[in-house]
Subunit: 193 residues, 2 copies
DNA sequence: GTGGTTCTTGACCGATCGTTCTGGAACGTT
DNA sequence: AACGTTCCAGAACGATCGGTCAAGAACCAC
């Protein structure tokens, strides 16, 4: 019925994510997006609406894909699974391909669209905390983890560690420091003396 | 010899800090600064140079004043001193007066002036880590803290906790979560089972 | 091929950005 | 009182911002 699009929407969103993630919302101009995606301004606006709408779409896409507990292998014994998880946090935050840190956290701490992103982050944090606490209780009941401390508080420690790692990684802090710190948080969860 | 200034430089910098901290560099326009400080544009430029120079001056001022270990009371027994320290981290980051979080961390994770702020942050982090590790060793030798784990790694855990708290506080995360998490990190340092 | 619809292109809009300039007011010195 | 200097107020600068418009090109259905 009409002329088909000459671009792949997913690819455009991916490029836009790269820009927004590395430079932030304000510092990314529409011209930058035009240059990076190859689309013209009118095509961008026609396909995604204004800059805010595009950003929201990009953020939704990121949130949908990112899973804080994705690296938690439930087939492994708890200590190894958790070890792999926190390692994945550090490596993911320090990954040289793509910008460092967490795009959602960056958005929620910057000014633009803050309240919206903050709500998403709050929900994500609450969800991660709840799932982690449930996991700890479950594995504790299975005898894989020591008793004693409140699983909820331990989950909270891990979540704060995760975000500290993401934030500091974006700030350029050395990976070795983040690795050591997260290992130490994990040691507490595992009850290592 | 000439007409004296009608404004207090410290007060102007303080107001500028408030704006930059709450909105970030990009989202703070010169007009905003003019409105908030009461100065005219020409006076601002005459006194501080351009926007970048003003921002740098504001950042330097903040860094100079902020002391991550300022709340560490060395006259107290180590457990109480550390407890007060991490509590001060949380309360400081969540303080309703003024913007939440850490201005230096915000700057280092945003795009603008990133490399410069990142270097300052890296130096601050390294310094805090070193001093904390030394403190832990010292108090460990005095019998106030348990042996076993590497003081350097424990210091790193605390530093990452501190920044996780600051970052999440800025993102609007509930204070109770941050408090619980930092308490847990502290428990690890204190060797609480 | 023709009509209808959508896409693409590039020029263009007003608004706002950071910055500078000009004119005049306010002060210390002589 | 008169000078020289510095400060203040506001207009104005070019550049860039996000966003739109008009015209032509590309496609599908018929």
């Amino acid at each position: 019925m009409a002329r088909p699009r000459e671009f792949d929407e997913d690819e455009v969103l991916e490029r836009a994510l790269g820009l927004f993630w590395s430079r932030g919302y304000d510092a990314t101009s529409v011209q930058d997006l035009v240059d990076a995606t190859g689309l013209s301004r009118a095509s961008l606006y026609g396909a995604f609406g204004d800059k805010d709408a595009l950003f929201r779409k990009v953020l939704d896409r990121y949130v949908e894909r990112a899973s804080p507990l994705g690296a938690l292998d439930r087939s492994l014994p708890a200590p190894e699974a958790l070890r792999a998880l926190v390692r994945a946090w550090v490596d993911g935050a320090c990954d040289a391909r793509g910008p460092r840190g967490c795009f959602l956290l960056l958005t929620a701490t910057s000014s633009n669209d803050a309240t919206s992103a903050q709500q998403i982050l709050a929900a994500s944090v609450a969800d991660t905390e709840r799932k982690l606490a449930a996991y700890l209780r479950e594995r504790r009941a299975a005898g894989e983890l020591p008793e004693g401390r409140d699983p909820k508080d331990l989950a909270r420690l891990l979540v704060v560690t995760q975000h500290g790692v993401a934030s500091m990684a974006r700030a350029g802090v050395d990976r070795a420091l983040l690795r050591a710190a997260s290992k130490e948080a994990l040691a507490h969860v595992l009850g290592d003396a």
